[in-house]
């Protein structure tokens, strides 16, 4: 979790990832942020986040992102 948080903070320092629960729905992260995050996560965790995975549900909270990462790792 902390690892993830530090990565996210590195991309968007101004966003409060811990408390925000609607990162996508409320427009806090825009498309560029998402791309940057996805690319970064792909590289860091050696996973393949696909376009299909770009659902708001998967990125609205940090917890959701973590879940996604775990799921993809296990495949």
């Amino acid at each position: 979790m902390d690892e993830l948080l530090s990565i996210l903070k590195g991309i968007c320092p101004k966003v409060d990832f811990v408390n925000e629960k609607k990162l996508i729905d409320d427009g806090i992260l825009d498309s560029f942020d998402i791309i940057s995050i996805v690319n970064e996560l792909n590289e860091h965790y050696d996973i393949e986040i696909d376009v299909d995975d770009l659902e708001p549900d998967n990125f609205n909270t940090v917890e959701a992102m973590l879940e996604l990462i775990e799921k993809l790792r296990n495949e």
Partner: protein, 526 residues
């Protein structure tokens, strides 16, 4: 067909009546019938292309679904397969599905490109090979630019497992050609609107009332504002040789107002119509001129087009394998900071290129697209610079004046884009820009020239008041006020007085009539 016409109103009333009276089971059929009637009435024989597209996605959809089922069957049958074989099967499945989708998409895009760019193509041929082919001047099938994108979104979503396949051809056809949206969008996603269309809806007093109010608002925007201010923008841009400097700013402002009132007014009418019938259309405009950056603007203007490009071009491109590889190379060449962003920027440039082309077949539209893209990229890259300036000069940013400045700045950039879009050609646009920056004729604002730009003092006054009303409503909405619900809570006299007053205003001040030239919707030719 003109949405702002008695004919359309009468049609909607008729459809609504039949719809609510018909037995629930066939209600979606009523919608389909109405949509086909409209299409035949307006598009005539061009309906062939619509049917072709719908057939292609129907068949494509079935194929994709079948492939998916085969894959699932394989998984089950395979029992305890190891990770690698599972992955292999999954990959093959994905690849096959994507093949089908790509094929369907390619066919439809080819059709669309042919219609849209036939003449451009011929012109290029003529120029390159000194040939003398005559132009074909093909009329576009009604709504092709919208339903093509919508159709492609269906097959791709199906591929990604984001929606269910539709086995009933007619139901799929309905989703594609639903009459309010065929004319100017919005570009809907299958999972958003399909089920709404198929479920029967009952007459709900409140919902129908809200729908009608929304339509009234759309009529107001279109008839009173857009069709009035078009005189100014058409005059300034149509006879641009006569004008200079600040007049072009007026013209750009006029066109900016016009295109918003026109397009969003049309959206209101469309959404209102759908609302009466029980269907909620996705939002297409969200007070775009209140944006504080170009990036934000494109999240508020023609939203469904933006999200389409984002979901089906931008995202796939920028998180694709190729993109990651490119990213690695770029980071080596240009350093980590910007290197990382280059593939994203490239994807974006492509998106904007396509966006521009979608609007029109011509160099200026490409430039229009690039203009937007470059501004966004610049905005992003220069952000640290702006931040430095803010910090250095200790400029307050958490205040109204700063936000106002951002909005004004954004609006100015948008108006620049409008000039590119509306001018008769690129060189023309260039001349206009030069004139704006070099000719300083501010006196033209006060010496009465503005009363000769197609609207006299009285008309300008009406326009001014109407725009003020629009501005007020927009500000209220921006602050989160739900206009229709607020009205609902007021007392009878106010409610009725307001609506009757609005109808009278539209009838009285609307720009229509046998002797007047009705302009069709700006986006209807797409």
């Amino acid at each position: 067909m003109n949405i702002v016409s008695l004919f359309y109103l009468a049609f909607v009333v008729a459809v609504a009546l039949v719809y609510f009276i018909a037995p629930r089971r066939i209600r979606w059929g009523i919608l389909l019938g109405a949509s086909l009637v409209i299409y035949l009435y307006c598009g005539r024989r061009m309906i062939v292309w619509l049917l072709l597209t719908s057939l292609s996605i129907y068949v494509g959809g079935l194929l994709i679904d079948r492939r998916q089922k085969r894959y699932l069957g394989q998984l089950e049958a395979g029992g305890e397969l190891d990770k690698n074989s599972k992955r292999a099967l999954k990959k093959k499945n994905e690849r096959d599905k994507r093949c089908y989708a790509a094929l369907v998409a390619a066919v439809n895009i080819a059709i669309w490109v042919t219609f849209k760019f036939a003449d451009v193509f011929i012109e290029t041929l003529n120029r390159c090979f000194s040939a003398d082919l005559s132009f074909v001047h093909m009329a576009l099938p009604l709504g092709i630019s919208f339903y093509t994108l919508q159709a492609i979104s269906y097959v791709i979503d199906l591929t990604r497992g984001k929606c269910e396949v539709q086995t009933n051809y007619f139901k799929l056809l309905l989703w594609l050609c639903f009459f309010p949206q065929i004319l100017q969008g919005p570009i809907c996603r299958y999972r958003e609107t399909a089920h709404q269309l198929y479920e029967p809806h009952d007459f709900d007093y409140r919902r129908v009332k809200f729908g009608m109010q929304r339509m009234l608002w759309g009529f107001f925007k279109k008839l009173v504002i857009a069709d009035r201010v078009v005189s100014v923008s058409d005059k300034v841009f149509g006879y641009s040789a006569k004008y200079q400097g600040v007049i072009f700013i007026i013209g750009a402002l006029a066109y900016t107002i016009q295109i918003y009132a026109d397009f969003s007014g049309g959206m209101d009418i469309i959404s209102g119509t759908a609302e009466i019938l029980g269907i909620t259309m996705p939002l297409n405009f969200e007070r775009p001129y209140f944006s504080r950056s170009i990036a934000e603007y494109w999240r508020r203007w023609h939203i469904t087009l933006g999200t389409w490009f984002r979901d089906y071009v931008f995202y796939p491109l920028s998180i694709s394998r190729a993109s990651q590889v490119l990213s690695k190379h770029c980071r080596k060449l240009f350093g980590p900071g910007i290197g990382k962003m280059i593939p994203t920027y490239l994807a974006m440039v492509l998106v904007w290129l396509l966006n521009g082309i979608w609007h029109g077949a011509g160099a200026q539209f490409v430039v229009f697209g690039m203009y937007q893209g470059i501004l966004i990229v610049l905005g992003m890259q220069l952000e640290p610079v702006f931040q430095w300036i803010i910090d250095r000069f200790r400029i307050r940013t958490d205040c109204f004046s700063w936000r106002l400045w951002q909005r004004v700045r954004t609006l100015a950039l948008i108006m620049g884009g409008r000039i590119i879009f509306k001018a008769k050609g690129l060189s023309e646009a260039g001349r206009i820009f030069r004139s704006i920056f070099t000719t300083h004729n501010w006196w033209a604002l006060t010496d009465g020239t503005i009363f000769k730009l197609g609207l006299d003092a009285w008309e300008l006054f009406v326009l001014f008041v109407a725009v003020l009303v629009l501005l007020t409503v927009s500000i209220l909405q921006e602050k989160g006020v739900h206009i229709r619900e607020t009205i609902e809570r007021q007392n009878l006299l106010f409610r009725w007085g307001l609506v009757i007053g609005a109808v009278v205003a539209v009838v009285l001040f609307g720009v229509y009539g046998i002797n007047l030239d009705l302009t069709g919707f700006v986006y209807a030719g797409f």
